[in-house]
């Protein structure tokens, strides 16, 4: 059976940015593995360190989901998937969001339990070249290192996510932001223990967990909205997309007899359906809409 989707592979307008995003995500995975290893080696019994470490491991899910989704998306439609694989990106986004929120809840429970039990964390020393050095310094160094890659990569991702209208990439950018903030909270937790505040570590872990849950909850709402054919949303927001609004207005002007203009989002693309109107001599290729990039409109169908 021939493919029937309107496009195969990435549109030319975003192909270059997609390649840049793929490169960036590969670097993201590489750097994440290096600092997950460093944090794991220096983790000890600190709750905040454990929380930050788990969060950093979870940070691998969005870039992996993006790379998998991108490969599928590139394939275009086939006999089994007539509308192509655009929504694999959305599925990856949901998986990442659920994992993020669930682990946030688990870590918050751990932190609250530690606070309620008034657990005192022991951080010992290690002998290096004849000197006994507090392990907390190694933990702080590992955390400081773990702050650098997410800070740089997250900012680059944000720019690409905007141009690609990629929610998964945007979630990853937010996760990277959460990761470097987690690193700072973790450092403060370790310093707090060093100054004799038993609660500092667990409080830092609880704050980090709450931020993970908040990010996960917001991402879940947007991901679920896309999967149940909700109206296209702005990146990182529940607000309706301005581009979708511009498209709907333009179609209303061209087809004033239409009873409704229905819009849904499949991955980064928008599909429109004009209800109660016939296309007549409408030419999709001549459609130019202010405030909506042409490549975003995947298809416009008519239901007379």
């Amino acid at each position: 059976m021939p493919a029937v989707s309107e496009h195969a592979g990435h549109p030319d307008a975003i192909a270059q940015d997609m390649r840049a995003a793929v490169r960036l995500e590969k670097w993201n995975i590489f750097w994440t593995i290096t600092y997950v290893g460093a944090l794991g080696a220096a983790m000890g019994s600190s709750q905040a360190m454990k929380t930050a470490w788990v969060e950093d491991i979870l940070g691998l899910i969005p870039p992996l989901a993006f790379l998998i989704g991108e490969r599928f998306e590139r394939r275009g439609a086939d006999g089994r998937y007539h509308y192509g694989y655009d929504r694999v990106n959305g599925l990856g986004f949901l998986v990442a969001a659920v994992a993020l929120a669930a682990v946030g809840v688990f870590l918050l429970k751990d932190a609250v339990t530690a606070l309620m039990a008034q657990e005192h964390v022991t951080i010992g020393t290690v002998r290096v070249w004849g000197r006994d050095v507090w392990l907390g310094w190694f933990m702080i160094a590992a955390q400081a290192y773990a702050c650098i890659p997410p800070f740089i990569i997250g900012r680059k991702e944000l720019k690409l996510a905007k141009s690609l209208r990629d929610k998964l990439l945007h979630t990853d950018a937010l996760m990277n932001k959460a990761n470097w903030q987690t690193g700072i909270a973790g450092i403060l937790g370790i310093l707090g223990i060093g100054f004799g505040f038993w609660w500092a570590d667990a409080v830092a872990a609880a704050i980090i967990s709450a931020s993970i849950i908040w990010d996960g909850w917001n991402a879940m709402k947007v991901a679920a909205g896309e999967l149940i054919d909700g109206m296209p949303r702005e990146l990182g927001d529940e607000k309706l997309s301005q581009e979708a609004d511009a498209l709907a207005k333009s179609l209303h002007q061209q087809f004033p007899e239409a009873k409704a203009i229905l819009l849904r989002e499949t991955g980064r693309f928008i599909r429109a359906e004009v209800v109660g109107a016939r296309p007549g001599d409408f030419n999709r290729d001549k459609l130019k809409i202010d405030g909506c990039d042409d490549w975003r409109i995947d298809s416009i169908s008519f239901r007379p």
Binding site: I123, G124, A185, F195, G196
Partner: protein, 149 residues
């Protein structure tokens, strides 16, 4: 977030002093009292001289007099947990069920016992990071002198 960071930094600066500190001020208590309260538990006869050497070094290191009391391990660890002792010294497994409740320092000397490793280990209350550092240093000095490192 920024407010939290600045708030915590202010608290940390206000708490300047020795670093790291003990959460329950064990080492400060030792200096103030002039004594280290040690609970001795079962150990092999062959390890007794090592335990005496450890306590003598600890005495020199801290400048405080060692006061020992013998008793069963369960009782001594419970007293350590309650703050009635500064240190428990005896034979402990590296995976003792007490491990989450107390800090078992690396052993002065260890030996295999079935699948486990048993060792003559000092045990401190959790979170007493400065005091644990002193115990670890003393253990390592003995091990180095004995060529066990």
């Amino acid at each position: 977030m920024a407010r939290f960071v600045w708030g915590l930094l202010t608290l940390l600066l206000a708490a300047c002093g020795p670093f790291p500190r003990d959460i329950d001020d064990t080492l400060q208590g030792i200096h103030e009292r002039g004594t280290i309260r040690v609970g001795l538990v079962t150990m092999r006869d062959v390890d007794e001289p090592l335990a005496r050497d450890f306590l003598a070094r600890l005495q020199r290191e801290s400048g405080a007099r060692v006061v020992t009391e013998r008793g069963p391990a369960e009782l001594q660890l419970a007293r350590l947990d309650q703050g009635a002792l500064d240190l428990v010294l005896g034979d402990f497994a590296s995976d003792s069920p007490w491990l989450p409740e107390v800090a078992i320092v690396e052993p002065i000397v260890d030996r295999p016992a079935g699948d486990r490793s048993l060792g003559l280990s000092p045990v401190a209350a959790n979170g007493e990071n400065r005091w644990v550092g002193v115990l670890e240093k003393t253990v390592r000095d003995i091990r180095e002198d004995a060529g066990r490192e």
